[in-house]
């Protein structure tokens, strides 16, 4: 217990602390506009919605730690949602149950394609994932047009995404909690995690250390794909249906969240707690803006300015010398 507490203290770096500070500040400003921004109902609602971004950002973070990036998020999310709902309808009750793992597996499959391209073909991730995103879109268009699939989500998905469990905590939040805990463990306590950080710092050194570097990269992208798809499954559960465009709103926010959380886009540095903070920050900011009655143009500008300001607070890199 105390060991855990100590390690926690050791892991909290200033960036993360400030990030959580920003969250408080944001809520305070919000409360000036409307006190309901600090009402438990609203906060839980926010955490619930944040969970979807949280799950997706987890995958994004693992890839970013490698020094890579995953631009296939939008359509992998959609694949997760659409395939799971489709399966849910195909084999009746059986489908309802295997729907979730199936959706995730589809994401893993796409992740493996990206991973293969990056790890074995050595194509820059930015472009492979872009291409995989296009392929995923193509697949979903054919899927929709060809099979007019059902898109109503199964009970299980509804339950995960919108249900509440003990003490009225949203299940989605619990799901994120589990995913987060797993990710933290994976990154800090396993050889895989070490390898990920290592690769982010120096691929050559990792390779010469006799680590199966390419397999680690492949795995990382598979994870990212699976988590994006899982995000899609949850979103489908939340919306009670899947739709092609459901992932569009998650690419840039997931990257922004990870970086706002103090993870270096160059790889090798960052911890999960930061990503948690980043995710909550982005979600809150979006929600607060969305209900403020100002022109959309104004919202966009404020959104950008606020992110810059927060980064200036703590996201700065050291000088080269």
């Amino acid at each position: 217990m105390s060991r855990l507490a100590r390690s926690l203290v050791r892991h909290i770096d200033p960036a993360v602390a400030i990030a959580f500070g920003c969250i408080a500040a944001l809520l305070f400003l919000g409360s000036l506009y409307s006190t309901s921004f600090v009402s438990p109902a609203f906060l839980l609602q926010q955490l619930k919605v944040a969970s979807f971004l949280g799950v997706i950002a987890t995958g994004a973070m693992i890839v970013i730690l490698l020094g890579q990036i995953d631009l296939s998020v939008p359509w992998v999310v959609a694949v997760g949602g659409m395939m799971s709902t489709a399966v849910a309808s195909w084999w009746g009750p059986v489908g309802g149950i295997i729907a979730i793992p199936f959706g995730i597996l589809c994401g893993v499959a796409l992740g493996l394609v990206s991973g293969f391209g990056v790890a074995y073909l050595r194509i820059p991730s930015m472009i492979v994932t872009l291409a995989v995103n296009a392929v995923a879109q193509g697949l979903m268009v054919v899927h929709t047009g060809g099979f007019s699939p059902q898109d109503a989500s199964s009970q299980a998905m509804r339950f995960l995404a919108t249900g509440n469990s003990l003490l009225g905590i949203p299940n989605a939040l619990l799901v994120w909690g589990v995913v987060g805990a797993a990710a933290t463990f994976l990154l800090s306590r396993t050889t895989f995690g070490r390898a990920v950080y290592g690769i982010g710092n120096s691929e050559r050194a990792v390779y010469l250390s006799g680590v199966k570097l390419q397999r680690v990269v492949l795995l990382a992208f598979a994870l990212s794909g699976g988590l994006s798809a899982f995000g899609g499954v949850l979103l489908a559960g939340y919306a009670s249906k899947a739709a092609q465009g459901m992932g569009d709103a998650y690419l840039l926010p997931s990257i922004a969240a990870v970086v706002l959380g103090g993870t270096s886009i160059l790889g090798g540095r960052g911890n999960y707690l930061g990503t948690v903070a980043g995710v909550i920050l982005i979600t809150l900011l979006q929600s607060i803006l969305s209900v403020m009655q100002i022109e959309e143009s104004g919202r966009q500008i404020i959104y950008g300015v606020v992110i810059i300001l927060m980064l200036l607070l703590y996201g700065r890199e050291g000088l080269v010398h």
Binding site: F42, V141, G145, F147, S148, A249, S287
Partner: protein, 352 residues
């Protein structure tokens, strides 16, 4: 100059090709001998509406009486990028197609293309996202009128005004703006006291659902809701927030109408209006008519497919076994176009 002759009339098929206003010009293109080569220059493709639209177009083109008139029916989708769509239209013109049907990414972007088409004697018909022009045929949905229709419903069903949630579409588009103007216009004119809260739903269910949930969490209560897309998500948010059902003016998604039918008794009093993707068929029909030298109005008004509570009928106004994303309102009886869900989505495994 080149292009269609402006004629006094008579309109070759006033019932189907209903002119937008009495003042609309009537076009007559020089008659061409069939069968014709017709192209559909679509932009964005990756949502159910567009996919359904394309399948309808193929289905319509392969209907026996239509098929005989067509030598070739080609479809190209160019994505969000308007420049690519313009290039596609240009390519169709250069490749000597007789008519081009287009769902424009940007209504104002086609001025030069329209000119080229007219110079080349190619019939250009726009639908859904139509063109701001008097030199090409527009098959219009009355977007402003749609907004007015929704607002009327709210005015009718909310006796003494109140707080309205308006879920808007994609910012920067004219469709969003027109529908918004329609809504606000009617509300103002109604003389009742209205207070509208606007959120951006982007015509997308998850987005609409999230912003609706936020709005409810902050504003606690609304007396009425109107949404121009992503309506299924909006209703879902209302249910999840345990917000009492209130009058709702919305689009024509199958999922939305399912909800309306299901919760009518609980107070979800809906007006569902719009035009399904089948309008592409009307556009093709118009193009063929024009090629045959028949007189058609420059601006055609599509009838809205509308249903109000309490008469949502399964299998006619919505399809409980079809997907939520499916768009109903595909019947244009005045044009002899009447697609059922099955014809469009249903038996399509066959033709893949």
């Amino acid at each position: 100059a080149a292009g269609p002759k402006i004629v006094a009339g008579p309109n070759s098929d006033p019932k189907c090709f209903a002119p937008w206003t009495d003042s609309v010009k009537l076009f007559q293109f020089t008659q061409k001998k069939g069968p014709y080569r017709i192209a559909l220059a679509n932009g964005f493709i990756a949502n159910t509406w567009r996919i359904q639209m394309i399948k309808t177009a193929k289905a319509y083109a392969s209907q026996p009486d239509v098929a005989t008139k067509l030598k070739e029916f080609k479809v190209v989708s160019t994505g969000e990028d308007v420049a690519a769509q313009i290039a596609a239209v240009n390519n169709f013109i250069d490749s000597g197609y007789d008519a081009i049907v287009v769902n424009a990414q940007n209504p104002t972007a086609f001025k030069p293309v329209i000119k080229r088409a007219n110079d080349a004697g190619v019939v250009l018909v726009a639908f859904d996202n139509t063109l701001d022009t008097e030199d090409a045929i527009n098959v219009n949905v009355d977007q402003k009128g749609l907004g007015e229709y929704w607002a009327d419903w709210l005015v009718k069903n909310i006796p003494n005004g109140g707080k309205i949630l308006e879920v808007r579409g994609v910012s920067g588009t004219s469709v969003d703006r027109d529908r918004h103007d329609g809504i606000q216009g009617v509300l103002k004119a109604s003389g009742k006291k209205w207070d509208t809260v606007e959120v951006i739903g982007k015509w997308d269910d998850p987005t609409a659902q999230k912003v609706t949930a936020d709005a409810i969490a902050v504003h606690k209560h609304f007396d009425g809701v109107t949404a121009q897309g992503g309506d299924t998500g909006v209703v879902q948010a209302i249910i999840d927030a345990k917000h009492p059902f209130v009058p709702f003016g919305g689009e024509t998604e199958n999922g939305f109408r399912k909800f309306c039918a299901k919760y009518s008794a609980d107070g979800l009093k809906c007006a569902s209006g719009g035009t399904g993707p089948a309008q592409v068929a009307v556009a093709i029909k118009t193009a063929i008519a024009a090629l045959e030298g028949n007189v058609v109005p420059q601006s055609i008004k599509l009838p809205l497919a509308r249903v109000e509570d309490p008469n949502f009928k399964d299998g006619q106004d919505f399809y409980s076994e079809q997907s939520d994303n499916f768009f109903v309102g595909n019947a244009f009886p005045t044009c002899g176009i009447n697609f059922t869900a099955q014809e469009i989505m249903g038996q399509s495994e066959a033709n893949q």
